[in-house]
Each structure stands twice: as structure tokens, then as C-alpha cells.
Symmetry: C2
Subunit: 658 residues, 2 copies
């Protein structure tokens, strides 16, 4: 066997050692990274473009001796275009001669990220910010010499529809005359907030589209909606293309602050990514002959405060350090063209307000989707993404806080953690007697059998939670999370690092050629995450004088896939009747969608974002003690008597449905 080099693939985070001379496509396949290669590596399809992040050099110095990859071949130059940007290679052609870090662009990824943020039905009054109006003008004569076409349009809209003080976007005036003549004096105007004409089209055009976006730290999802019906026309998701700049929020803030043009580069990355996503989402539209993202006339967007600032090109420095003051708290409406978003250029993007320096527009989305402020029941809403955000209260008072859970719930910082993609273990059962285990992977219905080829690649977030809960129940780890020693199973063993680990999948079951294990470090990471969440919720309850929760709502795509029993086993949140624990799916995205479809929701968001009280939990003196206690794994059977009966009745854990 030849020399081995370290290869890291982003954004999946898969990494491993690969032999000298292997192509990047070989490496990807070896490490379970799916790269599109329609031609099967024959160097003809050009689909397997990847970007070299490290271990490569400036384009001008493509000397093979200085690079950790073989020189660019003629086959590659045929496929790589200047607009691809620097550092692009074909994975099938570039061979390894040193350590490299590779970024696989969304379009080169074969195994598409499972869309775990599918849109659910919303019941909301349709009252979008952008509405269409039909206009019929008389053909002008010489008497109209001193009245411009735009004045005639505005006069018509006032007379026919009572719309007063309308303005017209500069780019609309620019094309108005051609469009009026093309439509033979019949046109359709799109008007924003009854204030500004942001688009005109020839003829009568009833269809109208908007997009509601939710930018997560890790994944981005866009819901393209028909503004005339409120229906979701298409849902498109992608990895957040900012992942190479840092997996978590703080590392991205640091990148922006410490790299020249770091902020500009990260802003451009997310804008470019959104443009690509919107182009895909709207590809099927054919509005009056011109489909594509240009036919999107309205846009709403939510994200955490760091993504919010970076998206807007605002220096995220001040929200990253005390006293954590944001540039702007209220919602802002910005011309899409000012940000380089390629929807209808006269349109605005409505950026939902944030709650506080740490609690972003995404949580405001959750807030207006779940409306705890309209309820009597005391509800705890947990939005689990890369960070954990909590809302607690009812119509009298709602508090919010943010918990530094880390990305363990999403499978990051876990040895064999991976994102929710085909081949990821999502459910696990461990027999308490034999300590043998079986599991399910995403993309397959059946459960795995020991030593049978199954294509297993790693553990996604819900898999890790399931694994730790099952390991606890089977007595492999104890209440403190420590591995129990001396177990009579080859699965519980000492790892290469000298620390105990448990084998979930044997190498021959996997597509990565190595055992998939859960290590002592993985268990600790999960304990830290759940401890932070639990302690945060507990302290909020204390502060607000709430002793018992009436309801727990699990928001976030991930929340929909957590096994309810496993979550209770681990003690991820304070006690609550189990039939009062609900998963609501991507509530942040729902809120974004509601604000898209109903302009009253925008006002509500601004009002409620200011009304919610932000509580800074981590600085409370009690926090550390509460957090230490919360690290333990509770005996849920003692705490939820009703669950005990349920568990004895059913053998297979029941996933909570969104």
C-alpha cells in the first residue's frame, strides 16, 4: 500500500486517509461522499467539479511540484470555465500527491441532502405584501404630450382601485413604455404594500410568485409560493455554502473579522447560493413567457443574527461580543438588486426582525408560526438547529433564550457523525441482554443485519440521540455517561485512542470500509448539548415562576426526526406529559412563509419580536450548577410513569410525526 494522505470533504465534513495517486473521485467514493459523475469517471461529462480549499496554490502557480494534486489535464480545461472561479478541478482527473481539503459544490453532489424541511399546510389568510392589478389605458394622443406614461398608469390605479400616493420603481419606469406598447395599453402591475409599483407586465397576468427562505447555519431552504393561492409550488434546499468558512456561528463571525474581505466573501457566497437555489425553485415557472427567478416578486427571509448580519453585509463583530448589540433589530425591506439577489429587480426582500443579539429572525419565524402569545397554555418551544433556541410562556409573557448546544445534535463533532443523507444511521435498537444492535439508514426501509453489506456511512443527529439513549438503556453507559467496563460483547471495546467505544456497524456493512462506532467523546458531546438545552429551559421556568409545562413544541427540521422516547430517555427537556410533546417541523420556515403570504404577520413579527423578553441564561450564577446536573441521563421511567407502560407495550420506538 502506497503513501496515505489526509483528505477532507466539505460541506459533508467526511474525512479520512487515501492512498497516493488516487483521484479525488476515488477518495470521495472511499469516504462515502457522493459526487456526481454521470460518465463514471471517464472525464467526459464534466459534472464532478470540486473546489480545492487547501493543499493547492494560486491559479498562476499551477506547478505540480508546488501542488498536492496532479497538474490540470486537457480534459479538465475543456470543462472548467472562468465563471467557475478559482481552484476548480474535475474530481475524476485530479490525483492525490499530498493532503487536501475539498469543497463539493451543491451541483456536483449526487446524493442530494434529504429535504427534511418540507413545507406543511398552513392555514393563514392570504394577504400578501405584493398584489397584482390590471390596467387598461387609452392609447395616448398629442394631447398627452405633457403627461408621461408613468403618470397615466398611476392616475388609472388611483381612479380604479383607490390607491393613493403610489410611486414607481425606477426600473419599472425604465421598461414601462415598451411594455405598455407590447401589451397594447393593457398591462398588469405588481404593487408592494399598496405603495410602490415594483413590476409591470404586458397583458393580464394573474399568477404571482414569492419565495420564503430560511437560512440555517447548515442548511438553507426556500419555499416558492403562489401568491394568488398561497400554495407551495416548489421546495428547494441546499447546504449553506458558508459551511467552508466555519461549521458554527462563532467560527464564521471570526472568519469575517479576521480575513480581509472575509465578510464580503461570505456575503457573496450566501447570495450566490440563494440565487442558484431560487433559479432551481422557479425553473418550472413560465410566467408570461419569462420564467425563472425574475418572476419572483416578493421574498421573506429568516436566519440567526450572525447569518442575518453577514447576509446584509453588516459587520458581525458587535453581535459576537458583549454587549452583543445588533446593527438593526427591526425588520428591513431592501431592494433585491442592492443585495445582488436576482429576483424581479424592483422587488424588496423582507428581512424579518431579530429578537436580540443572539436570538435571530429564525426564532421570530418560530414565534409568529406558533403564536405562544395567543395561548393560555404554558408552552416551551425548542428550536433545535445548530444552536438551540428556546421560547417559553403564554399570552401573558414570553421569554426567549439561546443555548450553546453546539452542533452535536446535527451530527457534527461526532466521530462518525454526518448530515442527514442516504446511508446515515437514523434509528438504532440495542438488545439489553446480548448488547447486539440493529439499525436503519436513511434511504432504506429494512433494518440492517450484522455483517451484511448495507451501504452504511455514519450517524446523523437523530441516530446519535437514538444510539446514546439505547446504549444507556442497554447498560453500555451509565447515568453519568461513562462506559460500563467488562461487557461480554465484541462491540464494546477499547478504541485506537485508548478510550472505550461501541460498534454500531461493522466495516463490512459500510461503504466506508471501517467500523462505525460511538465513542466516549461522542457521548460527552451529546451530554453537553442536551445539558445546555435542559438547563436553559429549567432556568427560564424558574425565572418565570413556571413549575410545570403544559406543552413542549419541538421545532426545527431535526426536531421532527428525534425519537420521542429517546429524547425523554436522555432528558433533553424538562418534564411534560408525553402526549403534550409535539414536533412541528420547520417552524422558522413556516414563519417566513406566513410573513410572505400575509403582510399583517410582518407587523405582528415586529411587534412581538420587541415584546418577547430576552433572558441571558449563561450569565446566571445558577447556570453552571444546573448545567452540571443536567448532563446526567435520567431514568425517564421514574419521571414519566405513563411512558413506562407505553414502552412495555410497543417494541419499536415511534418517531414523532411533523
Amino acid at each position: 500500500m502506497g503513501k496515505q494522505y489526509k483528505v477532507i470533504f466539505q460541506p459533508s465534513g467526511r474525512r479520512g486517509e487515501v492512498e497516493e495517486g488516487k483521484t479525488l473521485l476515488d477518495a470521495a467514493q472511499h469516504l462515502g461522499v457522493d459526487i456526481e459523475a454521470v460518465c463514471g469517471g471517464k472525464k467526459v461529462c464534466g459534472k464532478c467539479k470540486v473546489r480545492i480549499e487547501e493543499g493547492y496554490f494560486e491559479k498562476d502557480n499551477l506547478d505540480s511540484k508546488m501542488s498536492n494534486l496532479s497538474p490540470i489535464t486537457e480534459d479538465e480545461t475543456k470543462h472548467i470555465k472562468p465563471e467557475d472561479g478559482p481552484g476548480i478541478r474535475l474530481a475524476c482527473s485530479a490525483q492525490l500527491h499530498g493532503d487536501v481539503k475539498i469543497f463539493v459544490p451543491e451541483r456536483s453532489r449526487a446524493g442530494k441532502q434529504i429535504v427534511r424541511k418540507a413545507a406543511k399546510e398552513l392555514t393563514i389568510k392570504l394577504e400578501p405584501a405584493v398584489r397584482k392589478y390590471a390596467i387598461e389605458l387609452q392609447k395616448p394622443t398629442l394631447h398627452d404630450l405633457s403627461v408621461g406614461d408613468s403618470e397615466r398608469v398611476i392616475a388609472f390605479l388611483e381612479e380604479k382601485y383607490g390607491l393613493k400616493n403610489l410611486s414607481m420603481d425606477y426600473l419599472v419606469i425604465k421598461h414601462l413604455q415598451d411594455i405598455l406598447r407590447k401589451g397594447e395599453w393593457n398591462i398588469t402591475a405588481s404593487i408592494w404594500m399598496d405603495r410602490e409599483i415594483i413590476k409591470v407586465e404586458p397583458g393580464l397576468v394573474e399568477s404571482s410568485y414569492g419565495i420564503a427562505v430560511d437560512v440555517g447555519t447548515t442548511t438553507v431552504v426556500g419555499y416558492l409560493c403562489d401568491l394568488a393561492t398561497g400554495k407551495v409550488v416548489s421546495t428547494e434546499s441546499m447546504m449553506n455554502p458558508q459551511v467552508p468558512y466555519g461549521e458554527d456561528v462563532m467560527s464564521r463571525i471570526t472568519y469575517a473579522m479576521t480575513n480581509q474581505d472575509g465578510l464580503e466573501r461570505m456575503q457573496k457566497t450566501i447570495i450566490d447560493g440563494l440565487n442558484e437555489l431560487m433559479e432551481k425553485a422557479s425553473a418550472g415557472l413560465a410566467v408570461n413567457g419569462s420564467g425563472g427567478a425574475g418572476s419572483i416578486v416578493d421574498m421573506t427571509i429568516v436566519f440567526n443574527t450572525a447569518m442575518h448580519h453577514i447576509f446584509l453585509g453588516f459587520n458581525p463583530e458587535y453581535i459576537g461580543r458583549s454587549p452583543f448589540v445588533p446593527a438593526v433589530q427591526r425588520s428591513v425591506d431592501i431592494k433585491a438588486r442592492d443585495l445582488g439577489l436576482r429576483i424581479n429587480p424592483g422587488s424588496y426582500v423582507h428581512v424579518l426582525p431579530i429578537e436580540a443579539g443572539f436570538v435571530g429572525a429564525d426564532n421570530v419565524g418560530v414565534l409568529i408560526a406558533e403564536e405562544p402569545y395567543n395561548q393560555d397554555e404554558k408552552v416551551l418551544i425548542i428550536d433545535i438547529g445548530t444552536n438551540g433556541e428556546l421560547l417559553l410562556g403564554n399570552r401573558e409573557r414570553v421569554c426567549s433564550t439561546s443555548c450553546a448546544t453546539g452542533p452535536a445534535f446535527e451530527g457534527a463533532q461526532i466521530k462518525f457523525g454526518m448530515r442527514a443523507a442516504p446511508g446515515a444511521i437514523e434509528k438504532i435498537k440495542i438488545d439489553p441482554e446480548a448488547k447486539e444492535c440493529t439499525y436503519k439508514v436513511i434511504g432504506k426501509e429494512e433494518w440492517a443485519g450484522a455483517h451484511q453489506k448495507f451501504g452504511t456511512k455514519g450517524l446523523c443527529g437523530s441516530g446519535i440521540i437514538d444510539a446514546v439513549a439505547e446504549m444507556f438503556k442497554a447498560g453500555i453507559i451509565d447515568k453519568s455517561g461513562k462506559f460500563v467496563s467488562g461487557l461480554a460483547t465484541p462491540r464494546a471495546r477499547t478504541g485506537a485512542d485508548g478510550k472505550p467505544e461501541y460498534v454500531i456497524a461493522w466495516a463490512d456493512e459500510t461503504s466506508i470500509g471501517t467500523d462505525v462506532t460511538v465513542t466516549q467523546g461522542d457521548v460527552r458531546a451529546l451530554q453537553l448539548a442536551k445539558g445546555a438545552l435542559y438547563a436553559g429551559a429549567k432556568l427560564m421556568m424558574k425565572k418565570m415562576g413556571i413549575e410545570k409545562l403544559d406543552r413542549v413544541v419541538l421545532a426545527g427540521a431535526f426536531g421532527s426526526y428525534i425519537d420521542k422516547e429517546a429524547a425523554l430517555t436522555l432528558g433533553m427537556f424538562p418534564d411534560c406529559p408525553i402526549d403534550k410533546v409535539y414536533a412541528v417541523g420547520n417552524a422558522a420556515g413556516d414563519g417566513s412563509r406566513m410573513a410572505l403570504l400575509n403582510r399583517g404577520k410582518r407587523t405582528e413579527a415586529d411587534e412581538r419580536a420587541r415584546w418577547v423578553e430576552f433572558v441571558e441564561i449563561a450569565v446566571e450564577p445558577e447556570f453552571e450548577r444546573e448545567f452540571m446536573q443536567a448532563m446526567h441521563i435520567p431514568h425517564m421511567k421514574d419521571r414519566f410513569p405513563g411512558l413506562k407502560a407505553m414502552m412495555e407495550e410497543k417494541k419499536v420506538p415511534v418517531a414523532i410525526k411533523g
Copy 2:
């Protein structure tokens, strides 16, 4: 002598035959075009960059056989940069091998155009659209966590200054946090129309600048004003860089309509030109450490309707043909960044309204500067630029019209016509007995003597008017404009075209090596121009039932330089007591400046632009008859008895002072 080729220099319009093998710098000097050449043509300074407009080929095909110029030399490649754009050569290096059309960029022009648009004192209440406000905030604490910095600024402005419903430009929010901290919580905000914060600066900054621009068909002038005092800080002018696309309005409209990207190219040309002009005008400013055009916070602009549409990127097609409907008649406020104007990026450019399809914002500028609507006297306001525009009336009613005078008044379409630059003949006297002549050129105090080297280059607009008036008075031409035959002077002769001409300057007096003459064609062009003006005014008077004018106002830079007596001699406008004829200078520019300094003037402009009645004169059945009559040169002595006495008293014509 070798083969001769035709060479045309833009924007001066100078043209002539030049010998094969000569450099473009030789050609320029030969034809009296001043090109900067600090090194004296030694190919080292790189100052003599010119753009080849015709007789050249795509950059990729720089084959000398296909080009009318010698191939690019190494000396040139050292100086020519990609940002210079295509077609750039050093005039000292490129040699002639065929006909060419050359454009001399403003920065390569040595003989700077005489600024004939100097700003006069205006008395106007200072109430600019952009005002500055000092802000002092408390340093934020953890309690401000849920309030953004922008909300704190807005709250302060409301509390301290009573400014309600303020918004903040996106780019202001972008830099607000850094600026607040740099200014240690003391900043100065520039607020537009009491509505929007368009700039923030650290510390207390009292100085504030705006620019009022007047884009003429031929020349562009910008008045940089101190918004705190109303004073003009600097005046900068340049040739309109759109001249290469057509000397008059109609040819530019045609260019925009018939060339792919023609409109975009012309728009870019004027925007780039304005950016250069504003950079020069503001070079001396040092506002809080950052001078330059970025410190300009407000901008007003006037132009004719075609320039208006092209500047805004609007298709000028529809204002160019019946029923001549503009895209927009009202004033528009557009973010400078949307147009690529490099003033403070959050600022707006206020585009004054137009009156009608033909009567532009420049005439609105004249209107609000002269305010005929506030007067009892019946006044005729003539704005002479490349087109002639008329306003007639008083507080009861004001009508406007546009006369197709052609560019003869500006020296174009005249054989030796040139723009008002050093070496241009501006005044002429002809002895009625000997028919001998003497003249003054721009840039020299003394009058020329026959056959003495004088550096004469051609005739500017006021020179042509003077020449024709003097030729009439000396009996060289008759009342119908025809040359009188059989005069006993070598100056009156038959030209190469077989038609009569009169020599103003002998070849040895000039720097162009050829006699400067006034031809029969020149006289006809001037008669057409003045006839159109006279007939237009006469018909307007008839329509409005006005028999006698109380006052004539000559607006336009050129109007200030016309010899009053010569204008009356020619019959450029209907009868009026001579002491009631005033020249007011660049009234369009004054109007632009007033709108910059007083926001009430903007409202007034919008109201009055709609109130003025546009009269379409050219379609009147009477027009042709009136026009034919007006072509004749009147005996002004018969018509203005008072003038007769004045003429006999004074020997040297008196210029009308602005």
C-alpha cells in the same frame, strides 16, 4: 506630397485632410485640436490617449492591413491599460494609413473648453433637501441587547429633533456600528427630506455638499455647493461625452434606437463623464478626512428630454416620434447607486420634471429660476442651446415651445465653426467702405491685424452671429442673405465650391494654415436658425394675444455672449425696447442650483412644469409662412429707433453682460 486622408476629431468636430504617415498628434496640431502631450510627442508621457471611433477594428483583429492606423507599438502597450477601454491609442504613435474618426477624451484635451457657464449669485432661502443632525448616544449596555444601534439612532432623532417615521438607508445601517464606535457614540447624520438617513459620519461634521448639474447637448456643467451656506464651492464643466454618438438630439435618439446596446453605452458614457466631473469638482474638499465625490450628499440635474431619458436608461424612442410621450413627466428621486453615480451611495439624485415630450427639465430650470409666473410683465424667455426653447407669458399664463434652430448658434454646421475655445473668433468688425475686417479671438485681449500671426482657428457661435450681422451692415450680403456681387475686395471671393464667401482671417493669421471664411451656406444656416426662433416667438405671441413684449430674457450660456446689437440686426427675436433685453446666463443651471438649495423649489418645479402650457408650433399651418418671412434680415434701425442713436454714439459693439 503623399496621399491625403480624411481625419475627424471629436468632440470638437474639427476635420480636414492629413498626409499619409503623419501621427494623430501631427494631425491634431495641423487641424487645431489641442491634445495634451507633455513630453512633446516623445512617447514617454502617455498623456495623449485618444479613442479611435471609426477606421479601426476590433481589438482582437489588430492587423495593420485591416486598420487605417499603424500597428500598436511597445511604447503604447506600456501606457494603455485595460480600464482605458477598447480602441485607445497614443496620438503620438499611431500613424495614418486611411480615413479615421478620433475621439479626444476630456483628460487628453490640452486647451480646456472655456467655462461659459460660471455660476452667478442667487438669492434664495437656504432650505436644502439634505440636512445634518448631531447625535449623541449613550454607550450601550447589556440592557440594550434587544435594541439595534439603528433603532437607538432613530429614537434619538425623534426625541431631540422631532423627526418622525425616519428610515435608514441599507448602506447606512451597514456602516453604522463601526462609525458609532469610531465617533465614540457621537455621530452626524445626513437626512434627506426629513424622511431617510442617507449618511452617517463619526463626530460632529457641519460641512455638507451638494452638486447641481446641467447637462447640455454639447456641454455639461456642475456647480458644487456648500449646503450649509449656499455658496458655490467650485464650478466644473466638460464637453458632453455623448457628442461622438451624435451632435444633436435626434441623431443621439437614432443612435440609441439603431445600435445594439446603444442606449446602455450612451447612458454609461454620460454617467462616467459625470463621475469624472464630480470627482474633479470635489477634489479640493476634505470632509472629515474623506474628500472626493463621496462627500457629495445631494444632487440635482436638468437636461432636455432626450438627455433625460438616456441618462435614466429610458428608451428615448417614444419622445422622438408622435405623439412624443415621455416615460415620466414628474420629478424623480433615484438612488445614486442605482445609476452608478459615485456620490455618497445612500444619496438620491433629484431629476427635475420635464414639461413635455420636447421641453425638458432644463427649461423647467429656466422656469423656476426666472419665475415668469410671479410677474406682471409679459416676458419672452429664450434659452439658446443646441435647441432653442421659448417661454412666454406672465402670472396669468405661461406657454412654452421648442424651436428646431439646429446647432448653428453653437458654431456647428458652419464651415469654420468651432466651440468656444481659445483661438475661436468671438467678435468681428467690418469697415463698410473698404470691406476690410478685424476680429477678436477667445484668449486674447487685442484685435487681430491682417496677415499677422494670431493663432486663429475658427468661429464660435457668437462670432458667426457677429460676422453675419457685420456682413449685412457692410453690404456684403443683402436683406435676403445673398452675397452682393462685384465687391472690390479680395476678401469677397468665389470659393472652391463655386459659391461666394468672405474671408475673415487669412491663412497666415491662423494656426490651421488655411483662410477662415464665412460661406453662403453658413449664412443660410444662421438664417434658418434665427428664422425658426423668431417665427416660434411670433406665433406664440399671436396664440396668446400678446402684441408687444415687455421684456426679453436671453438664457443659456451662449445668450450671454451674443452681441446685443448683432442679435437685433439679424432679427433673432421680436421687437422689444433694447433696454428691456437681458442676458441671465445659464438659467437652466441656476434652476438646478435653486432646487439643490431649496426643497420648496422642487415642489414649485413639479407644479409649474404641469401648469405651463406646451404649444406645438411646428404643426401650426401658419408656421411655414412666418418662418419664410423671418429668414430675412431686418433693418433694425427702422424697427428700433432708439438703437440707431446708440449705434452712432458707440463704435465698438457692447456685449450683453450676464
